[in-house]
């Protein structure tokens, strides 16, 4: 079934209706989350009690808005910090990985490539517990040996960052490697002919060429880190990132405050995605 082959009207209409239904299904949950952020009620459900901005800007009980709710603001800050660290680390390692697999032929290359992909097929929660188990093994060993308590290896932000980094690096590697694959090596050789050193050639020719992929990988890594739940859940300490903080609230019962946070998240990630698309176009 393609446009150049005539089809009966009934089939065409049914197909289009199906696609419309599908996109309604995609949009529905997000739409209700967004709409109920403005409901002037204690609960994000019908009946509609009127429009309000209180869940964003409200200052007093019972309607404290997002911008006055300190725990949520702090959780956003934590998530942003974790996201920046994870993105920076995974783009750095992703770049070295991409160069390694693109530029060198060596024994064990195929095996390493498959190993590099495995984090994609390990459930997030298993990644989380394995890192939790190993880090506490190391921490306990350090304590037994020299009575040195390495707090960084106990559940907390450092472990959250390492846990997310462990699988987001694979994504970053794939994004960067895809663009490096298309790079014309003769450009680098021309730079070498013109007297540039290897590092200079890479810095002035290859890296600028890779820039859209580097930025793309950074944004994707940041978004993935920001919304990660499973791995983070197993490694989190007392400073909860946003998804964990929201989860804890949701378990106690929901108020439109959560809708307001969610709406802000949607707006934020859409803006980031747009920035990324703009960079890819250039």
């Amino acid at each position: 079934m393609i446009p150049t082959i005539p089809q009966s009207r009934l089939i065409k209409v049914t197909y289009t209706a199906y696609v419309v239904l599908f996109f309604t299904y995609l949009a529905l949950p997000l739409t209700v989350v967004a709409v109920f952020a403005f409901n002037d009620s204690q609960f994000p459900s019908l009946p509609w009690e009127g429009f309000t901005w209180d869940w964003f800007f409200g200052e007093e009980q019972p309607k404290i808005g997002v911008f006055h709710e300190r725990p949520i603001l702090r959780a956003i800050g934590t998530s942003a910090l974790v996201g920046l660290c994870v993105s920076a680390l995974s783009v750095a390692v992703g770049t070295t990985n991409a160069f390694l697999f693109n530029r060198y032929q060596f024994r064990g290359r195929g095996l390493l490539y498959v190993l590099m992909l495995t984090p994609l097929v390990i459930p997030g929660i298993v990644l989380g517990i394995s890192i939790l188990v190993f880090s506490s093994t190391v921490a306990n060993a350090a304590w037994d040996a020299v009575e040195w308590d390495i707090t960084a290896l106990r559940p907390g932000l450092v472990l959250v960052i390492l846990g997310q980094f462990s699988f987001i690096t694979t994504i970053a590697t794939l994004v960067i490697a895809a663009r490096l694959q298309k790079f014309d090596r003769t450009l680098e050789e021309a730079a070498l002919n013109l007297g540039a050193g290897h590092l200079t050639a890479v810095r002035t020719i290859t890296i600028p060429y890779l820039m859209p992929a580097l930025i793309g990988a950074f944004v994707v890594a940041f978004l993935m880190s920001f919304e990660n739940f499973n791995t983070t859940l197993m490694l989190v300490g007392s400073d909860a990132p946003l998804t964990i903080a929201m989860f804890d609230r949701l378990k106690e019962g929901s108020t439109p405050l959560l809708n307001a946070v969610s709406l802000l998240l949607m707006v934020g990630s859409s803006l980031l995605a747009l920035v990324m698309i703009a960079f890819q176009r250039r």
Partner: protein
Amino acid sequence: MQAAQRLGFLLLVTPLLLWLGLLIIIPHVDMFLVSLRERVGVGEYATSLANYRSFIDEPLYLMTFARTAVMSVMATALTLLIGFPVAYYIAKMARGRVRSALFLLCLVPFWVSELVRTFGWMILLRETGLFSSVLQWAGLADAPVEMLYNDAAIMVGLVYTSMLFMVVPLITTLDSLDDAVIEAGYDLGGSGPSILREIVIPHAMPGIVSGSIVVFMLSLGNYLTPIMLGGKDSLWFTELIYSQFIVRFNWELGAAFGFMLLILSSVIVWGTLRVTGQTLEKTMG
């Protein structure tokens, strides 16, 4: 020159080895070792298969394990069935602006966290939720209807959460199928279904496999959707892992559970790749 190249190689291979070694391989080996430990006294451990034995002996654990596997397979099949026509529409039927708009629309929901998506479904499905209100308003129900906290709700949530990871690889592979091939199929007397079976699906196989693997992994390892949308009896295997680790503090049993989950997912992924003749490099890389 030789030496410089060797230095460059060493500099590039070190981060990779550190990452894979310290965060992937050694932690999993360590998790396996912990799962083989049996607590025999305070701070005393013996090596045994006791944790795996209690996994097999306790019906609740085994049942949950099987249920999680079966439901994940079902969720994967459903996602494929629902997503394939849409992917085909975007790749083959839509043109120009409509096409890129639809593609972007597919991506949008997934830029927000899974938590927000699940929350949306809770607002829709719960007793005081939108669907229930609409049903009452339309006169189809005379009391609030609870649609949350059952297996169907889990299914809806799982399919929703993983749709993107099915649709995008499908679009990519279907896009590379030349329209002329389909036209040739019609010219040679093929009908819609036979062309679908003999031309479109074989061509889309790499996309189907990679989409299915990712969706299966995401469903199997999901924690949020079953716990928020599922009821008291719809336990998910990840909930058992979580409760052994964080609530009961029985890391040995939890590690055994984690390892079982890893084995299950590896076996199914490996099996799928073998049966369909694909490789991990081709489908993921």
